[in-house]
């Protein structure tokens, strides 16, 4: 089975709202997939349909070749899940929680080892209601791993975590990938998606507006690399005229779009040759975050077609 997750034309309707509006997603076995999108985009709805917790209105969904809604019992033995806003029995300690899941799944994992893996061993004997938000999230991750799942669904596993805790979770995600497991991750953090994911899909208002590797998305939807210098506004028309590049002046700065890295040298020569004073030179490239903000913003303004290439 090459595809761990296969979704086609998935729709979920809540009353009037089309929370998921015809999406296609494929996640290859052994890869990390990041599902990006603003609040209310439809990420949790999609993930919970994949987990068999919600029922799709229409479309086909296969996880490990199974229909999550109908074959939930078989599927649940093979997947691990951290829900968004993970909660557990308040009076039960972290170690007891893992032992409980271990008994339920009949698995053989060692509670201590698993807690060490998510850096929670020091809180092994603390009750759930005394754990901090980040510690609860780590326990959720440990519980999701008790059955040694083939596919892990992590719904915003790092939201609200400090940078250290976030890195701990990232390293677990990387180790899961190294073990050949598939990870389906939803996040608001572009940096996280860029760092961890083999492939990314951006969802907004229930539609996928961009998909591919982070590089592909930036290349397809990002603006060109830009060179910026602090200089007089009159530099902009001059550069435009001499080099035929798109140049703008704003806030005491002049910004030039570069088509390739050789353009940078030509721009610098032209600036120097102009005799105008300049300083504070910098280049700027779109990050996935810039692309994300622009894509979501353009869709919300209605200037972006939802049938974006994928």
């Amino acid at each position: 089975m090459a595809e761990a997750v296969e979704v086609s034309d998935l729709v979920k309707v809540y009353g009037e709202l089309r929370a998921v509006d015809g999406i296609d997603v494929r996640v290859a076995t052994g890869t990390v997939f990041a599902f990006l999108g603003p609040n209310g985009a439809g990420k949790t709805t999609t993930v919970e349909i994949l987990e068999g917790l919600r029922r799709a209105t229409s479309g086909t969904v296969r996880v490990l070749g199974l229909d999550p809604w109908r074959d939930g019992e078989r599927l649940h033995r093979r997947i691990g899940v951290i829900p968004q806003d993970f909660r557990f029995f308040e009076k039960i300690t972290a170690r007891e929680a893992i032992e409980y899941y271990r008994e339920l799944f009949g698995s053989r994992v060692d509670a201590g080892e698993l807690l060490a893996r998510v850096e929670l061993l020091d809180k092994a004997d603390a009750r759930f209601d005394t754990l901090s938000g980040g510690q609860k999230q780590k326990l959720g991750l440990a519980l999701a791993l008790t059955n040694e799942p083939e596919v892990c669904f992590l719904d915003e596993p790092t939201t609200g975590l400090d940078p250290h805790a976030r890195r701990a979770i990232w390293s677990v995600v990387r180790s899961l990938r190294a073990e050949g497991r598939t990870v389906f991750l939803t996040t608001h953090y572009l940096e996280e998606a860029e760092l961890l994911a083999d492939r990314v899909a951006v969802i907004n208002r229930g539609r996928i507006i961009a998909a591919g590797t982070p590089r592909e998305i930036i290349d397809a939807h990002g603006r060109p690399t830009r060179l910026k210098v602090r200089a007089d506004a009159s530099l902009a028309p001059l550069l435009k005229e001499r080099l035929g590049l798109d140049a703008r002046a704003a806030n005491g700065q002049v910004e030039v779009d570069l088509r390739d890295h050789k353009d940078a040298l030509r721009v610098l020569e032209a600036i120097e040759g102009s005799g105008l004073p300049w300083d504070a030179l910098a280049t700027e490239t779109d990050t996935l975050e810039d692309v994300f903000v622009r894509l979501v913003g353009r869709m919300d303004e209605g200037t972006l077609s939802s049938e974006a290439p994928s």
Binding site: R54, G72, V81, F88, Y101, G106, R127
Partner: protein, 371 residues
């Protein structure tokens, strides 16, 4: 159904419960307080003067009247004439829950004056040592005085002129505390699973804990079974404490037999399922609490918890007939007080059928996930 998973879930229930002081208070300490409170109130009232229901067959003789009034003046007992013949007295006493009675036989005065021995009959309830002891002591005291004054010469050669014979009242006699023990055991069988399951079922759903469990191999029937097992064990402990306290601290007379056990199992089974059902049909925890109270409160008072249903007016008795808790308490009454196993078995059968229905409804109604 898988035993390993039920056991694992049972451990979670047990730990959650024993680490929650409020839950423990309501299931173990509160019943003790109830028994203690009612026991103190009602054993205090029953320790005042004891009424002896008497039949005087020596129609109006001065000696027999003098005997009764001497007895009446002892301050231990009070004499009241029973409206029945001496032959029916034993049955009448039993039927009216009067533990003591007295018959003065025909010819008492004549025998007394010519020195012939007459035996008075004192009816007692052998289970009720306190009342029996009090009445026998009081009667013996008056008899001794009459014997001293009897015409007899030479005095030393005389056999006592008045003697006492004891007989048992027609059927066992029960006091309030005796009825109260099965009633209060029933009260805790109702309240502790109901309140907790209504709360848990609605809150676990709201917090998403059921959704998390739905992603494990644990089934809804296994989840519910673990709770049933826990509440059965808890009921054994709390019933043991309440019965022990009733017997040793307040002198309750109840028969302990194995016939009690099925009620201590089926009762919690029924109310765990009913609590789950109430919590599951409600859309929110707040409405669950309201539904739970609507279901629980009539049963709390109208099923024979604090007052025997037999003492209710007919309209309320008809209400009790449709309350499941009535069959739990009535069954325990039949076992612990009346030794009426046939009726207990009928009560049990009704409960088993109702429990199976409610359990299946609860398993079907409660949702792990959004359908």
């Amino acid at each position: 159904m898988n035993g390993r998973r039920i056991l694992a879930d049972f451990r979670v229930v047990y730990r959650s419960y024993t680490r929650n002081p409020i839950a423990l208070f309501f299931s173990l300490v509160f019943p003790v307080i109830l028994v203690g409170m009612f026991g103190v109130i009602f054993s205090a009232t029953s320790s005042t003067t004891l009424t002896v229901y008497a039949v005087n067959d020596d129609h109006g003789s001065a000696t027999s009247r003098a005997f009764l009034s001497a007895l009446n003046n002892t301050s231990v007992v009070k004499i009241s004439l029973a409206p029945v013949s001496s032959g029916d007295l034993a049955a009448w006493l039993g039927a009216h829950d009067h533990p003591v009675g007295l018959v003065i036989p025909r010819g008492f005065a004549a025998n007394y004056s010519n020195g012939t021995t007459t035996n008075l009959t004192v009816y007692i309830d052998p289970q009720d040592e306190a009342s029996s002891g009090a009445v026998l002591g009081a009667v013996q005291g008056v008899v001794d005085r009459f014997n001293l004054l009897a015409v007899c010469s030479p005095p030393a050669s005389c056999a006592p002129v008045v003697g006492i014979r004891t007989a048992n009242v027609g059927s066992p006699v029960f006091r309030y505390i005796d009825y109260l023990i099965p009633g209060l055991v029933g009260f805790s069988i109702l309240t502790s699973p109901m309140f907790s399951l209504v709360d848990i079922s609605s809150n676990y759903r709201k917090e998403g804990i059921f959704r998390e469990l739905s992603l494990t191999p644990l089934s809804r029937a296994e989840w519910l079974t673990a709770r049933v097992v826990w509440y059965v064990l808890l009921t054994f402990v709390s019933a043991g404490i309440m019965i022990g306290l009733g017997i040793y601290a307040f002198g309750a007379h109840v028969t302990l037999s194995a016939g009690l056990l099925p009620f201590l199992v089926v009762g919690p089974f029924f109310f765990v399922s009913l609590g789950m059902l109430c919590g599951s049909v409600a859309p929110t925890p707040e409405s669950a609490a309201v539904i739970g109270n609507i279901v629980t409160f009539p049963m709390m008072f109208l099923s024979g918890t604090f007052f025997p249903v037999a003492s209710f007016p007919p309209a309320l008795r008809a209400v009790a007939d449709v309350l499941p808790l009535y069959y739990v308490i009535d069954g325990m009454n039949q076992v612990m007080l009346f030794a009426n196993m046939a009726r207990a078995a009928t009560d049990l059968l009704i409960l088993v059928i109702a429990s199976v229905i409610v359990f299946l409804l609860a398993v079907r109604t409660f949702r792990w996930r959004d359908e």
